[in-house]
Point group: D2
Chain length 466, copies 4
């Protein structure tokens, strides 16, 4: 399995896909997961139902390798399926937390795949343990399954509604029973979830780029608080109790989603280009060329170049054949990781005053190495420009959680960060500047920049571990 | 992974080991599992606790291969550990049912390993599902964990007692919590479980051959209905409500256990030799030599030879390097399986009247091939002698369950079986003859021979599947 | 192992690296191979010498995975090492042809790694077989080793010189003996080879991007016909008999080499940008935006945009997590391969007249799919622009050889290709136009465009196979 | 892959199989290799020809695992095939020396598989290197292929004859060309080789147990010095120049061959039983029971029991599920290896005076552990009896070569060995005693016991290594 040791970015925890009404449901989900691979590379899985029997398969690794054995896909027969890509959040590569999770309960078998983080998970878990439940994983998905199983709601739909009403936090779920597909998005709408169609089949996916590969057309976003039920009788929509305001994750536009996706009703590449343009207006640089940290900074760098009038160049070459690099005891792992992955193009860099655009800085360690590499290749000046505000607070809504101490902007001033990076100048977007690029700025969560969380955060956000 | 396609034998489902009070608990459990590998070859696992943290590792394959990565064992630190070998009972090789299962519940983390079959499992599962439980596996172990978690018993020990009281059927459990090891054997005592000691450490194992490799001395059997609790304060023994009579599995002596083990207070190789002697008395054969089907018939064949005065010879060579044999479409799998695994020694067989001893016959297909092989090598006569009575009924107490239709003795008379095998004569032990070889014949279950089951058997013994 | 089923490109067969005088020679070669991974992904290997003992390790897969086992690198001790990346040229994934090949002969042990194709290999092989040689591989490297072993030249250097003089065709070699590193480039200079330095160590690599990751500085190209000998006494240079004119492979600039490399004395990204500029001059398009096929068309597209004044946009997103995709029987493999790998950004494409830039077209099947995808996303017009002339002839100098019938430009006119691609217009560079972008156009081979081969090509260029 | 760390035995280096005239030649060879697995467990391979094309496949591991991928066998089409099992002789597990080796030379493609050791290999290799040959492996097979390729003999048969005449030492070869199978056994006849038939097909195998599984009947031994050529015209036999006397390896009877094989015209199990009987006559013991070290001592122990009148018992249980055992740093590897593999049956041993029979002692370390285990289980006395004379000299004829210092009998007297083993008594066979058990004692090599080698042994029997 490949891993990506260098990557100094926040990571989405998951991508999810669901489909109902296609004779080759699992194959379609497989393609959808392929398109959502950037949202999670540690494990992948698919559950499928043919109306009477439900099967699932999951494994560690990229989608293509988990399903590389040609004997696997044919076993996932049926007209309905859900799938999941997972990013490891706890440094531990283990199959136990891979999804979908498939269980049997009072109402029969249910499989679930989840993207997000339930902020009252610990409390719910504690309560359910008190009243006799057991937990085999640390996954929020297991919690929602318990809630469904315990509901006295009657049928599966009311049980799911019952369960969801008890959740606080960020979630997008796809559930599969023998004959029903259910998709749900939390009332704040933290994570994106979209609805698509191909022929008679209806599709659900974290991002619309999954629809493109599945040959489906985009219908609309699943609304915040919406629960969509799809079965042989068609599609039905129900709403969970509302919240004061929406809290779309702005980082989906900044970095998480693919630029070819439509997210929260807006095209990611458009927003990302606007972020670059705004950055050029607010933090111009007296320089010769604009380059990006590939591929995360590409689109914003194009926007920056447009507005600044500076030439856009490809100044860093990224090696895509990177896996778990052998590190000798005497070597500096971080330095090596960057060198293995990125190489400056000296013909572009040498003697130039360079604007270097990326989307965000977490610890700053990688950016520091990149600045150093550029200087070694002859860059006269390096002006770092970041197409988002400084990340100063952890995110509790579906991201690989960092502690404050791991966020350089939480510990240092911008000037100090500039010095740490050894950059000639450093420019971030402001929060208002960033919000000016989207249509409905009031609908977004900016907690990681502002510290203003949209939900109560449990004091001890200590992840239990099994 | 190796598999054993030829084997026409009933199979034990599992072997279990536990230890408390050894700084290298997991290493000792590993050795114990090595010795119990014959009880289950599909998966293996160990859970260990150092008093504050509990870790576990499990995988598909033989013990040595599951723990071959040198990075694994060092992670299983602590003074207490349990382990499990599992034999696949449902044709499906899957990690989900591997044990130990480790969960978190009200009283903290618990791991469990199980040998046996809970006959009221379906009913308990149905009841718990009704009241809101979810099931991720088809394992009886998950059921007992639910019962423990739901118990209002206060501490872990009373919860375990509570849970066990609700179980019907055959079980030996080892439980591990952060600071306690608990071992339990059902009141009928179907499966063997022994207690051993090495220095300050106390050990639990399905068979005493595990103690030999662990360097431990045998203390005594865990009694039917006994629950042993071991923690820093030492060992404590409690009893579950009794049953009318004990039901030791006689097949442990006939075939399941290793001849170097002490089971139900008796030495397996002694009983097995007595079975062969009794067989020679009851079903003598006018022949030249006695040979065995290696290795299952070896000890009984020695007994048969002793009493009959016939020469014991090694007439069949077993190939121990056998794995998943490639079978071309045109080949007869069963025939090939036998040929790959066994070869007659023509110098021993040619021109001889042969007594062929084995412990049991399930479907008869393998034995038929062996008789054919012996005849091809010049055997003048082949007299098949079986050191147990005809198996006529399925076992519901911890064995890979067969249907009646898969038991040749359930469908055919002894004369018909002889004809099917193409043997010159066929002799089985009688039930009384068999029981005469053990000290307390009244303590044994003979259901698979007599059909007299010691517990109610649910009409639909249909295994749920996930 | 990942593979890249979609890729409709010619492929370099190999990348090579050598180093002498670094205590961690193998580690450095490993890094160099990492940087040269784009030149070959099927197998990788390293041979190292500490002056008395030579070890080697090779395997199928990417560099990182071949050397992922932490026990491997420490075995490759010594101050001198060579390495090799290989691209499979015969559809057969086999370890037997992996390099370096390590043999023992009269002068001791020799390891060799090779990039290129010896055009008189069949003839040499036939001759040597006639006089008693045996061949275990189909590799040209084995041929040169035989020639060395048969040489009566005295020492290893004269034996190597002897051997090389008999070769016709394209080659860059690195040889390693216990105490000497030898690098050689054919007199025509088809393939690039560079010399670098880091401290006391001297390095050889196919491309200078390897030096960047090794922390080395570029000294100069190994000259066409030059043989460089490096040992404890330093470096020595010898020349093979010259040829009429040089024949640098222009495709190294067009596609093979990384843009951050310096090749044939010129910076690849500069030439590549010039090719795009020239293309814009010669084949302008009345369009709205310029996009590239990532990553092969990126730099040329930037050049095209500059000169044309059209906006450069990122219009296709490439999925880098692609492996051996599961293909169901009913699916169109080629179509799926493209969809899995590339997705148009609808916000960029929709309603636009698009210039689509790539470096070359081999069969045209992939390009046709891409045009279709763009049209589906709303492109009003698609103008395909190729930054090289039509490929009309096979290459016999180190490339995965195609037959004429596999080259669309060999079978169809440009107008026919345009129709096949369903493009609104199609523009290629002319040969003179292409040659105008390099400093010494007379030094380049253009055989694949013009059919004018620089060496005799054996009529039967039939590859022997073992 | 499993390995067998405990085994303190000499090991055969290889087993070979060949077949001509069966449409499923490779399948038959596969079965033959299965039966010969005891002769080599490190690697396995098959080469097959359909008259025009030759393919081969080889890999590390047991036969079943090397050919477990169902895609492999169908590729080995044709009516002729050869196969090979190899035992690693140099502690290094490497694919490079796996056989068959397939090469192309003047006369076309040839594959070869070899059992034995060419004692003048170093000299031949040196000479051929001097005249320009290269060597990629350390295998004797490569040497013979060079000799064939260099022969001016005209056709392949005369070339093979030419080559073989230059060899000194022990060898059995099977060669495969596109249309011919050739088998050869050295004039001294060190290693066994047999000829069999099944329908129109002719078979060659190291041992006749391979014929049993292939459904073939034994015809006769390939004679010492005989070369058998099989092609579409049938079978032809030629003789190499003779030697003074034959030198059959007596150790094939003592330990190497399977007891169900016919070797050198005699049944192995018969000889092995006679060795035990002779041992009982020459070295009787005042004891209660006879047990064997399974499985190597089984047959001799039966013979010992017969003559001595003592009861034969199964006193040691061997665990056949043993692989690469995890060894913690603090553990004694050798001690653990024995414990994991063997366990005494206390009911058999306790209070008894035990005769312990095995076939040979190399270093004595394992036997010492076994004696200790028996004493721990209550054996009152342990009388070790060995069914061969003390091994005092290395073997240079196809065995994993030991140095004198690794042979306990080369360093210590019998009394000293007894003390080292902590045995109550120790008895070996004498050389005449041993030879008395075979029909033609003058035909056997006893060099490892007597030091009288049948061929000149090069002073420096230093194995070159690649």
């Amino acid at each position: 399995m490949t891993d990506y040791p260098m990557d100094d970015h926040w990571h989405e925890e998951c991508g999810i896909v669901g489909i109902y009404g296609d004779d080759r449901a699992a194959e379609q989900v497989y393609l959808g997961l392929y398109a959502l691979q950037h949202r999670g590379q540690e494990s992948a899985g698919i559950a499928a139902s043919d109306g009477s029997c439900m099967e699932h398969h999951k494994g560690l690794g990229l989608v293509w390798s988990v399903f590389a054995d040609p004997a696997v896909m044919p076993k996932l027969a049926g007209h309905a399926a859900i799938g999941h890509n997972r990013y490891s959040t706890r440094g531990k590569t283990t199959l136990i937390n891979a999804q979908p999770i498939l269980i049997e309960c009072r109402t029969g078998k249910i499989a679930v795949a989840h993207n997000g983080t339930i902020t009252n998970a610990s409390q719910l878990r504690r309560e359910m343990q008190e009243s006799g439940s057991i937990f085999q994983t640390t996954s929020d998905s297991e919690i929602v399954l318990h809630l469904i199983a315990r509901s006295r709601g009657g049928d599966i739909v009311s049980s799911v509604m019952d369960a969801l009403k008890q959740l606080i936090g960020a979630y997008c779920f796809v559930f599969l029973t023998r004959d029903t597909l259910i998709a749900a998005r939390d009332p704040s709408g933290f994570r994106p979830l979209s609805l698509g169609r191909h022929g008679d089949a209806l599709m659900i996916a974290s991002e619309t780029c999954a629809f493109d590969i599945m040959g489906a057309e985009y219908i609309r976003s699943v609304e915040p608080g919406e629960v969509i039920i799809i079965d042989r009788d068609g599609m039905q929509s129900m709403m969970l109790p509302g919240v004061e305001r929406k809290s779309f994750c702005i980082f989906e536009h900044i970095y998480f989603s693919r630029p070819d996706s439509l997210i929260f009703g807006e095209k990611v590449d458009k927003i990302r280009r606007r972020l670059g343009k705004k950055l050029a207006q607010d933090s111009p640089a007296d320089a010769d060329i604009v380059i990006s940290v590939p591929d995360s900074g590409n689109t914003a760098a194009l926007g920056f170049a447009r507005v600044s009038g500076l030439r856009y160049e490809i100044g860093l070459i990224r090696n895509h054949y990177v896996g778990r690099t052998f590190i000798a005891p005497h070597q500096d792992k971080r330095k090596l990781d960057v060198k293995v992955k990125l190489n400056p193009v000296s013909g572009v860099i040498d003697g130039k005053r360079v604007v270097l655009v990326d989307d965000s800085i977490v610890r700053g360690t990688t950016m520091r190495q990149i600045v150093r590499l550029l200087r070694e290749k002859g860059a006269r000046e390096v002006h770092v420009r970041i197409s988002s505000p400084p990340i100063m607070h952890p995110c509790y809504y579906g991201i690989d959680i960092s502690r404050h101490s791991e966020l350089i902007a939480s510990e240092k001033s911008i000037a100090q960060i500039r010095d740490y990076l050894d950059a000639d100048s450093l420019g971030y977007l402001t929060i208002p500047g960033m919000l000016g690029t989207v249509d409905n700025p009031g609908d977004y969560c900016t907690a990681c920049f502002s510290g203003e969380y949209c939900t109560p955060i449990p004091r001890e956000f200590d992840k239990y571990c099994i």
